[in-house]
């Protein structure tokens, strides 16, 4: 899986060509404020995008986005290009932080919001934002999944649900959901051509 080396960063995330973001993160690890400024420009929109997608509330999303970006600054020395791309590292931080926030605020209003999130069709991924090759590709790859796989991924990743919650929403045994989630991501990975 890692034999092909670090995965390419998404198009548009790197004016300096492949590996540029990883190089910037290494500079950030040495305290380079200019590099951090550049990393912000490259990643803030993606971080805010996924955080607001999961959390929904703009004010909370902004707070979490700030936390995530500060964590990138603080822990840049932990980034290991051998273990994946810089984009994946940051997006993992961002998504986990967003999900943690959603789960720590388990209120009634919150539950309402999540029910709304469950109704979102997968192609909203592309609808909500201006089209681009990258987004089109993600949309197409999501479209190549089986319906159960796609619903599992959408509810889990964009909705912030646990696999147990996804299972009960879809009325499917948890064991089935677990395997569908893994199958779906393996397919997506292969379809998107990341980390061969």
């Amino acid at each position: 899986m890692r034999s092909a080396g670090p995965a390419p960063e998404p198009a548009g995330a790197e004016p300096g060509g492949p590996g540029d973001l990883g190089a910037q993160i290494r500079l950030v690890a040495r305290g380079d404020a200019g590099a951090f400024d550049a990393v912000y420009d490259l990643l803030a929109a993606s971080v805010f995008g996924i955080v607001v997608r999961v959390i929904r509330d703009p004010a909370q999303s902004e707070e979490v986005t700030q936390d995530v970006l500060l964590e990138v600054w603080r822990t840049a020395s932990k980034f290991d290009a051998e273990r994946g791309s810089a984009t994946a590292w940051v997006m993992t931080l961002a998504h986990r932080r967003a999900v943690d926030r959603v789960r720590s605020v388990q209120k009634e209003s919150e539950r309402e919001r999540r029910t709304a999130a469950a109704d979102i069709p997968y192609d909203e991924v592309a609808e909500a934002v201006e089209s681009s090759l990258e987004r089109e590709r993600v949309r197409r790859c999501l479209g190549s999944l089986t319906e159960l796989q796609r619903e599992s991924v959408t509810l889990a990743y964009y909705g912030g649900y646990t696999y147990g919650q996804v299972a009960s929403l879809l009325g499917v045994p948890t064991g089935t959901i677990k395997t569908r989630m893994r199958d779906a991501l393996i397919r997506l990975r292969d379809c998107l051509g990341v980390a061969g």
Partner: protein, 265 residues
């Protein structure tokens, strides 16, 4: 299907790879899976690959962040100590999920029990970073904790204020200071680095000087590695300057020594 072949040796934890890569997992399951990952290089590689895929799901949602966020993030970073690189693979694996941005750290400090748990679990470097930030020695950390809680919440509030602005300045005789100020809160957070060491009988005193009169803020605590602060100055008035002088260690009511720093706020 690939899955069947793998289940033979991966068993129950391994089937969680997809759910784990999407954070679709409860905290106990997450902890269990991470223990499993620590001993399974193949699984770690699979997770890395799946995360390249989930990262694309994330970048496909990109939307412009709110205006002003960049300034706040850069200002907060300027006041945030970075972690040193990991000394071993194991440290990096166990630390990363627990790591919090400094603001979150300060929030966590408001809960002593949580702090105790976190401090016990975190690597020594992280604890040291906190100690450095608070300018406290290890032995007295517990005693100072409750006093620091209040100020840490204030610091966090200033750093995340919507109108937070950052300034830096040079100290006559050596050293630099960083100030993050919120006009709406009439409060600033001050840190200094590289200040010239003073004899034990003297210390650096921070002042607010302006039309409303000269007010001592505090004597700066001496920190390791020539780092000082963060300290808070509140009750800022229009036209105030922030000033620094070297005074007798007990502090004085009015500045008696030449200004070594003068910043118009």
């Amino acid at each position: 299907m690939k899955l069947r072949g793998r289940e033979g040796h991966g068993r129950e934890p391994h089937t969680l790879a997809g759910a784990y890569a999407m954070d679709a997992i409860s905290a106990p399951d997450r902890a269990r899976f991470e223990r499993h990952l620590a001993g399974c290089e193949e699984c770690a590689q699979e997770i890395a690959g799946l995360r390249e895929a989930t990262a694309r799901l994330a970048t496909a949602t990109a939307v412009p962040p709110p205006s002003g966020l960049k300034e706040r993030v850069l200002a907060a970073a300027a006041l945030t100590r970075q972690q040193p690189p990991p000394v071993s693979q194991a440290d990096a694996e166990t630390e990363t999920p627990r790591m919090r941005a400094i603001v979150s750290w300060f929030r966590a400090l408001a809960l002593p029990r949580q702090m105790a748990v976190a401090a016990a679990a975190l690597a020594v470097v992280a604890v040291l970073a906190v100690a450095v930030l608070f300018g406290v020695a290890n032995g007295s950390m517990r005693d100072q904790l409750s006093a620091d809680q209040a100020s840490s919440q204030q610091i966090s509030a200033v750093l995340t204020a919507r109108d937070a602005t950052m300034m830096t300045g040079a100290v006559t005789g050596g050293g630099t200071v960083t100030i993050v100020m919120s006009h709406s809160m009439r409060t600033l957070v001050f840190t200094a680095a590289g200040l010239h060491a003073l004899p034990a009988s003297r210390g650096y005193e921070l002042w607010l000087i302006g039309p409303a009169g000269d007010r001592p803020v505090t004597m700066l605590p001496a920190g390791p590695h020539h780092m000082t602060g963060p300290v808070i100055a509140s009750g800022l008035r229009a036209g105030d300057h922030l000033a620094l002088t070297a005074e007798p260690a007990g502090g004085t009511a009015r500045p008696t020594a030449p200004m070594m720093l003068d910043v118009l706020l």
